[in-house]
Symmetry: C2
Subunit: 390 residues, 2 copies
């Protein structure tokens, strides 16, 4: 609700509406009295090349930054005589990406897109959806929709309010009797319980689609922050990992069991996460086979100097874990900073005789690549292994 | 999840973390290689004066814009030798406000606050919480927390996915038998189903508190966009109002009744809204006494040239509405552009003999003032009128 009034002499509601509209474009609109043009941005070509446009007549430099770029520098836009800056980038693979402009050193969302979202209380991005020739799992396809439940509770340990989000599949009847398997799905850091949905993941659409196609077992998906202490600089610390484990196992999961009709069998529980959530989820999953029997690392922050200490019990005495898990799944992007670490972790599992799957996808350390990994992981969960071929 | 890599030679996870941190401050950090200082912003003094700070060493002008300002112009910040811009504003009344900086004509959130939120897919703001001497209804007080359910459905009328949010009070047991009253709570425009919660309203905390204090009847609160067509320029049009009415009455409410254990009696149904939602809610509420028996306009966009045509049936033949409503509540801010219209509307109700309440609060047309109005309205809903004093 953006209505404000600059001049009392004009008709109230039209002034209010005009100002409301003006504020929508103020992002890139110098206070010069000029009227910004209506732009199409982003514009996706038939070849999936993408053109970005920003009206910034008084800016001296505008750059494009997107999460498909990895280690590459931001792309400069060129200024036209009309004050509109433009850049066209080469074709992108189908996915949902996030991007922003850097204007005079200030990062800003694309005011033409109406696709601005915030995450973790500090990041602001625009959404870029590159469709496939045939609809991909994450594209809206009018599948029956599940519900996202935003739960809050008072953490006895932290003496503060914490949040988690639960996806329930379409057809879940709270008053029914059917019990559902559970996937705990964790974000990176900084990040929170919304990252996989409104914070850029938009994964609920993928859940809907895969369930509708019969490719995913109808399940609850529980989303909670990986970074339980939220102290800058200590995100990958042992203290943060321990805090996360206690909050998840002793506080969140009991509430989940009380409020949702979960299947209590450990075979029906999985934990997976992105980046820090991949590492923390792997740790908690391997520590608690009495809770989880499937684990997924989605571009997890697996680096040798931490897993050599954190995971040592399961590598030195691996017997108890050798047959315990239905699935241990490791995915990583080809340009990901954690690719070597993930490969090294897979080698440790191999040496310990712990069954696992390793998948390398194209791309950098990003939520976009993790989305592809999640789309591969979900169909594998909670299904009996295929019978061996005769 | 913001991790990316600029240099392959550094330790992967520390580089990733450093870059993750760097991106958190990039908003106000020119690409000059300088390290931004750690700032406290906003800083709230004991007298509730507020100091804002932004590090922008290469900027030539920085202004503060906040939703408490109404028709007043943005406040300029002064630049210090250290590149930090500062302004201190006079004391504010306790409330939750939103604000941002305008740097070189570009509006941006406060990077020091970690309180950035987006709304309606296009607006980005920071949150400013001014506490009261005693906790106000909207301040976190560890009350038992309700749940926010994000529902999606395929609109048969619009052939697209629409969303609504349902607050269920603490203690709501989906498998129980108790039925609850319903408040339909609408946002302004541009706005969506999240405006009253994560989009700047944060009203779920107020619901929790008032219910815990026994000052609000435990109820479902249903939030849906007021602007059903979402066509720029046509937000206050008759077409948009008609579309809103059909979507709400024929699509959202039947789903609500099917999915939540609502009390079917019209005495247990209310509709209220902010700005456009106040006007549209008033229209739908007066048109449908068979559904709603309580109506609230929270700084509603009531202007004479539209309500003289839209509401004419109820003013010319008011008999059927005279005794129909338990509550018609009109609130407006003293600096609000819609104050005169709201007063005129109250006069029409008065002339028609339709019982109502009018309340004028201090402040401009803003979600902050509407929050104060909502805090007054909620305790009045679904309660039998007090017995007359002897």
């Amino acid at each position: 609700m953006r209505i404000s009034l600059n001049r009392r002499s004009v008709t109230p509601h039209s002034a209010a509406m005009r100002l409301a509209l003006a504020s929508a474009v103020a992002l890139a609109c110098p206070a010069s009295g000029q009227t910004p043009p209506t732009l199409v941005s982003p514009e996706i070509g038939v070849d999936r090349a993408v053109t970005f446009r920003l009206w910034a007549p008084s800016a001296s430099a505008v750059e494009l930054s997107g999460n498909w770029m990895g280690a590459r520098p931001p792309a400069p836009l060129a200024k036209g005589a009309d004050g509109v800056w433009t850049v066209t980038i080469p074709p992108l693979e189908p996915n949902i990406y996030s991007y922003g402009f850097i204007v005079e050193g200030i990062r800003t969302a694309d005011p033409s897109c109406r696709c601005t979202f915030a995450s973790a209380g500090r990041f602001v991005d625009s959404v870029l959806r590159i469709p496939g020739d045939t609809p991909r799992a994450w594209e809206a396809q009018n599948s029956p929709a599940g519900t996202l439940h935003h739960e809050r509770f008072r953490s006895a340990r932290q003496q503060r309010t914490r949040q988690f989000v639960v996806y329930t599949p379409p057809g879940y009847e709270p008053a029914g009797t059917r019990r559902y398997p559970v996937l705990v799905l964790l974000p990176g850091t900084p990040g929170d319980e919304n990252d996989w949905t409104s914070g850029g993941g938009f994964a609920e659409v993928m859940f809907d689609n895969l369930i509708a196609r019969g490719e995913m077992v109808p399940m609850f998906v529980v989303m909670h922050a990986s970074d339980a202490l939220d102290r800058p600089g200590g995100r990958r610390s042992d203290q943060n990992l321990q805090e996360f484990e206690v909050i998840l196992v002793d506080e969140v999961l009991p509430l989940l069991r009380a409020r949702y009709r979960v299947d209590p069998q450990p075979e029906s529980w999985a934990i997976a996460g992105l980046s820090l959530g991949g590492e923390f989820g792997m740790h908690v999953g391997l520590k608690h086979p009495e809770i989880f029997r499937s684990i997924g690392s989605l571009s997890g922050s697996l680096v040798q100097n931490s897993f050599d200490s954190r995971f040592v019990p399961w590598f030195t005495t691996p017997e108890a874990r050798r047959g315990a898990y239905s699935l241990i799944w490791l995915g990583c992007g080809s340009e990901d900073v954690f690719l070597d670490g993930t490969k090294a972790f897979a080698a440790r599992l191999e040496a310990a005789g712990i069954k696992h799957v390793f998948r390398q996808l194209n791309g950098p350390h990003s939520l976009a690549v993790a989305r592809l990994e999640l789309a591969e992981l979900l169909p594998l969960l909670f299904k009996p292994p295929a019978a061996p071929r005769r």
